[in-house]
């Protein structure tokens, strides 16, 4: 052992250097965090835009272009960065500027967390004709069968979404029913074994459609003309 080392009496660090050091550390931290934030923000926004575009294309495959609109009771406006996401719809237009469909998001709680979907509404048949699960954290092997099961996917080829006589809501609630008991066009046949996740998708669709479809029909002309 080193015997020449004198016994050191612990000295309390003086206050001024302590404050100076803490100030220095705060400066370093604040600087690096702010720098990273500013530098990455455009990339992050771009990534999100690309992801949204891809999701819309997945449910509106014939769309040559797409535009985002925010729906309000009194009219439509191009969606901005601060528009509430649950009121935004993505309209797909073909090469001639004609409307091919309108995509919107829905979400509801499944087993582990929210299940997010993007669905396509076709004003011609007044039905939902495509669905894509965009984000979910469900149990692998159980909940994630909703992604692959062909019978489940068939639910969304012509899911009835007509509005009622007053045009204020859907005529029939979109609801998930037990596997094998689907009778009506507005019901979703659950996957046996993934009832929770199937129900989450049904609820997410219903909530979103109830709010957005009446508004879409009311302002359909404006949305159609947005392509030109």
């Amino acid at each position: 052992m080193n015997t020449e080392l004198p016994v050191q009496v612990p000295v309390e660090s003086p206050t001024v250097p302590m404050i100076r050091t803490l100030g220095l550390i705060s400066l370093i931290c604040g600087f690096s965090v702010t720098l990273a934030y500013q530098w990455t923000k455009p990339h992050v926004d771009e990534n999100q835009r690309v992801t949204t575009e891809r999701a819309v294309l997945a449910v509106l495959p014939e769309a040559a272009t797409q535009k985002a609109f925010v729906l309000r009771v009194d009219g439509v406006a191009p969606a901005a960065a601060d528009s509430p996401p649950e009121d935004v719809v993505y309209v797909g237009y073909d090469a001639d500027g004609r409307i091919v469909g309108i995509a919107a998001r829905g979400a509801s709680r499944g087993y582990a967390d929210l299940v997010h979907v993007m669905f396509a509404y076709d004003p011609a048949c007044q039905c939902i004709n495509a669905l894509k699960v965009t984000k979910m954290n469900e149990t692998p092997g159980l909940g994630d069968t909703v992604l692959k099961d062909p019978d489940f996917k068939r639910n969304f080829e012509a899911l009835d979404a007509r509005v009622n006589a007053e045009g204020t809501a859907l005529a029939n609630r979109i609801v998930t029913v037990k596997h094998g008991t689907k009778r009506e066009a507005w019901q979703i046949d659950a996957i046996s074994g993934s009832t929770v996740t199937s129900k989450a998708i049904g609820r997410g669709l219903d909530r979103s459609a109830q709010r957005l479809v009446p508004l879409i029909l009311r302002h359909l002309a404006e949305l159609e003309s947005g392509g030109r």
């Binding site: 080193n2 080392l5 050191q8 612990p10 000295v11 309390e12 660090s13 250097p17 302590m18 050091t21 803490l22 220095l24 550390i25 705060s26 370093i28 931290c29 604040g30 690096s32 965090v33 990273a36 934030y37 530098w39 990455t40 923000k41 990339h43 992050v44 990534n47 999100q48 992801t51 984000k135 149990t139 692998p140 092997g141 159980l142």
Partner: protein, 219 residues
């Protein structure tokens, strides 16, 4: 500073010890939370490992640079603030690079802050050694951590989904052991690795004892 400053020389051991002898996951049993949570696929495992390595390296180097200046009383608080800043930086960086990886890793990116490995290294090593030594040791520890994560990630993904880094490697007829992707599977695979390593260490000890016994009797 009233601590004995035993600054050690830079050797290969400084780098290698973080990988094998003092592997953070298998030997010191630290950083368990991300090890179990994000290893359900090999891609996630590597991403988390690299993110942690980055934070480990940057924060420890900074701690080492400031080691003579940080007052003893507030050192833990300072380390934590430094680590938190770099984790925030990594959080934004991953978001900018790949949204998919970001969503797969989820909240665990932010939880790198409380990964005991980083604070442990800062307190035990970075606060006493030179910047170069710290950098080398941090990289070694980070690589050790990434390798440990990969051990789990590869096993869980191959058995649980039949793929590796997203590429299918087991034949279609293989019915995947979904258990591997569930939380329980994480526990089991990690337990398996721990038991294996414990068993290997036991054998080494027993062999060393036998050797000793043989030399004593043999002479």
């Amino acid at each position: 500073m009233s601590l004995l400053n035993k600054e050690e020389p830079l050797t290969l051991d400084t780098f290698v010890r973080g990988i094998w002898r003092e592997n953070p996951v298998f030997v010191t049993v630290l950083g368990m939370c991300p090890t179990l949570a994000v290893t359900n696929s090999a891609t996630n495992a590597i991403s988390m490992g690299l993110a942690t390595l980055f934070v480990l390296l940057c924060s420890n180097v900074l701690v080492s640079m400031l080691r003579k200046v940080i007052p003893k009383e507030v050192r833990i608080a300072s380390y934590i603030v430094l680590i938190a800043s770099f984790v925030t930086v990594v959080d934004y960086a991953i978001q900018a690079i790949s949204l998919e990886v970001y969503e797969a890793l989820g909240a665990f990116i932010q939880l790198i802050v409380v990964n005991c490995i980083i604070l442990g290294r800062a307190e035990a090593y970075a606060s006493r050694q030179t910047v170069v030594n710290t950098a080398v040791n941090s990289i070694g520890t980070g690589i050790g951590f990434t390798l440990a994560l990969l051990c789990l990630g590869v096993v869980r993904e191959v058995l649980g989904a039949g793929t590796l880094f997203g590429v299918r490697i087991l034949p279609e007829q293989f019915q995947p052991w979904v258990l591997m992707l569930l939380p329980a599977g994480g526990f089991f695979v990690l337990a398996g690795w721990m038991l294996l390593i414990d068993w290997m260490n036991h054998r080494k000890e027993r062999k060393a004892l036998e050797q000793e016994g043989a030399t004593v009797h043999g002479q």
